[in-house]
Symmetry: C2
Subunit: 437 residues, 2 copies
């Protein structure tokens, strides 16, 4: 039987998961694929820390050169993370003739073209199924399974931490801060949650998915991002009454030949499959011109789901399919053209607006007048009798209008003397944007 | 650029969709994959019938030998259907050195091993993404994306016609016959709906998915099947009140080393993602030991979704990945061992039972006594005050027990003089069997 040497660099949570699968599933995988993956090195700077998996003697090392210099290592798994050392490491591994498998979305989103070029120069491949939505094989689905389609739209829930927080806020009415603490207590959020709650992590993933789905180079700075830190539970409640659920969505579209990529909190109609994705799960809705809507759902983070996708990539690389794919797919092979980018101000969307105003005559008229002057058409208004005339929330949903109109209108509302509290704007996924069911 | 000649055999609905994609998307596909698929022949016995796609002159033919004998044809698409002529045709195409792409689930389920052996002998491949769940790339997901997993369970809604009929019965209270007529009027059911409503089509698909997911040879006769023709709308209503939705499920499991494959109407908890799959959509839930639950949802039938998957397979074959896969994956390469099959009577499940009985003293006691004697434990009872003492429905849900116990208990109930109407049994998906959300 064919055998292929593997090195795992980085023996943290994900690295341990990969090592465990290689050791525990080695025989089954060899029987199932006709190829044995042999774990030759596991490298980490910290050898003392206890792990939940036993590595055979001689395999664990803090000397990365042993892996790089071993000609029997044909594939290396990078689980170090970050965009500097890890990128240099991947380049060295490629130059040393190894295929690379990684889950490093930050490195791919920020320095992907550079990494892909290094792989091409070395006639090696980089595979990264685990970089987006961890255990869901969404990269393969878009790249291979849906290749016949002009992909019109990709909409994802790509950050499990944010989805957990928003799910808790929705189900218990908790504040953002309470839900974040709960997520931290249950291991769904880091002590420093910035990368997740700022939307930055989802932005990295959308940059990768968008490049692949639309076959174009994506610059990270062209992906618009807003996080969930400012979300107020009362908007989740109002949205719920209107038939919507709040999600941090990553939305990619090609609009009139221009690329539009954005990550922001979004009201999703309850009838959409995206609305049913709860807790720390991830999901992606892909709209193709031939297939229509397909939807993928599963664990978007965690040791074993991530390791599951990394080992799938190892098998692909070992069988030689990864190399074929890397040479063929335009985006990986560096043959994709850049696309013009549609500025966020020009993107059309619907909005949910909440204005906390004085309960006095003429205020609703002023608000409506401002929206009208910015050519924003009102779809619904929700204002309830209030016990506190000093501050009454007025909730308005709108029809489609350009983002720029909303920005200008909200600025104008903020100058109204009657505005005593917040002026909140949350984008809405339109009915036509949800999956037909 | 690499060019690969393609023949499409069978110019019906699906064949026309494939031809359309090859003609309309040819340039984009060539750019995206680095390989041009050249349509050399489109073969059909009936050249006169109007189609919605124009074929270039000289390509359309009623002479299949032109395709088989053309050395420039490297890949052939079989859309003829059936298990006799189509199988012989595929064997001839393979022997002539062509890779084969097909959506023919009946041929694969009934004569798969024979076809795979013919492909191996010819050193060619057979690809069949479109044979299960049409546009959803579920074959790739299980075969490649989840390869690291011991797959514990596959649960699918694999027949769009049945799902459409059950959805209509659920939403409108229509009878089975009314819903079937509606499905026929809307093109979701054939004039002769037997293959779909009997569960046979889903059975074919489960035989394919089960073989792949569990890496074993599946004999079609080992897949238990019950269709939806006997379903009574009142059971859908009672189930709904208990928190369940009725679906035709295809369930594959490995239980203590034995294979259990079955297709039957099943009550699914409303909290399961499977419960949200409506109309003619398909979905598959895959439970892997490392990844956990992943869920795939999309159009399970139709011209362009099916063509989408066929063209994906064409690209795989053209790039050479299909050949690598076919040689490597144990199930395709004929290295899979058969597994013992668990007889349906030994499978444990929960049941929903409805007995239409006389409203008189002692009847409930008799029913409970029969269940108890068969060691079936009652989970809930629903009996409402009735205006018609001559026939009262008693609805019982049970805890887990072996199928055989239910068969015996229901037989005994049928001998009760108090049973004046039907004795209905419908299996229930257990809470532990639904996806964690």
């Amino acid at each position: 039987m064919k055998t292929v040497g593997v090195a795992v660099i980085g023996f943290g949570t994900v690295g341990s998961g990969v090592v465990r699968l290689l050791l525990e599933e080695g025989d089954r995988l060899a029987a199932a694929t006709g190829c044995r993956l042999v774990l030759r090195h596991v490298c980490d700077v910290d050898l003392a820390r206890p792990r939940d998996v036993q590595v055979p003697p001689g395999v664990l090392t803090d000397d990365i050169e042993r892996a790089i210099g071993d000609p029997e290592v044909r594939i290396a798994v990078e689980t170090v993370g970050g965009t500097t050392f890890a990128v240099d490491l991947m380049k060295r591994l490629l130059a040393a003739g190894k295929d690379v498998v990684t889950a490093n979305k930050a490195a791919l989103a920020e320095r992907g073209p550079e990494l892909f070029a290094a792989a091409r120069e070395a006639h090696r491949s980089i595979s990264f199924e685990a970089s987006v939505a961890a255990g869901i094989p969404i990269i393969r689905a878009i790249r291979d399974g849906l290749v016949a389609n002009r992909i019109r739209e990709v909409i994802g829930i790509l950050n499990g931490t944010c989805n957990y927080i928003l799910t808790r806020m929705t189900s218990t009415g908790a504040s953002y801060e309470e839900a974040l603490r709960e997520a931290q207590a249950r291991g769904y959020a880091e002590a420093d949650p910035h990368l997740d709650v700022s939307g930055e992590d989802a932005r990295h993933k959308l940059a990768i998915l968008g490049g692949l789905a639309f076959g174009t180079r994506v610059r990270l700075e062209d992906v618009y991002v807003e996080g969930i830190a400012g979300v107020d539970p009362q908007d989740i409640t109002f949205g719920g009454r209107l038939g919507y659920v709040l999600k941090l969505l990553a939305i990619g579209r090609v609009i009139d030949g221009s690329l539009s990529l954005r990550v922001h909190p979004t009201f999703v109609p309850k009838s959409s499959p995206l609305a049913t994705v709860a807790e720390a799960y991830n999901a992606v809705l892909v709209r193709g011109h031939a297939v229509g809507d397909t939807f993928y759902y599963g664990p978007g983070a965690g040791q074993m789901p991530t390791a599951s996708s990394i080992v799938a990539d190892l098998v692909d690389a070992a069988l030689g399919r990864a190399g074929t794919t890397f040479e063929s797919v335009a985006w990986l092979a560096g043959r994709s053209a850049a696309m013009p980018v549609k500025p966020i101000r020009e993107v059309e969307t619907r909005y949910y607006l909440r204005f906390d105003v004085l309960d006095e005559p003429g205020v609703l008229g002023s608000l409506a007048g401002i929206l009208g002057r910015h050519r924003i058409s009102v779809a619904s208004v929700l204002q309830e009798e209030s016990s506190d005339p000093a501050s009454v929330p007025v909730v308005v949903t709108t029809h489609r209008a350009p983002e720029g109109s909303f920005v200008s209108a909200i600025e104008e509302v903020r100058r109204l003397p009657a505005l005593v509290g917040r002026a909140v704007g949350i984008r809405m996924l339109e009915p036509g944007e949800e999956a037909a069911r």
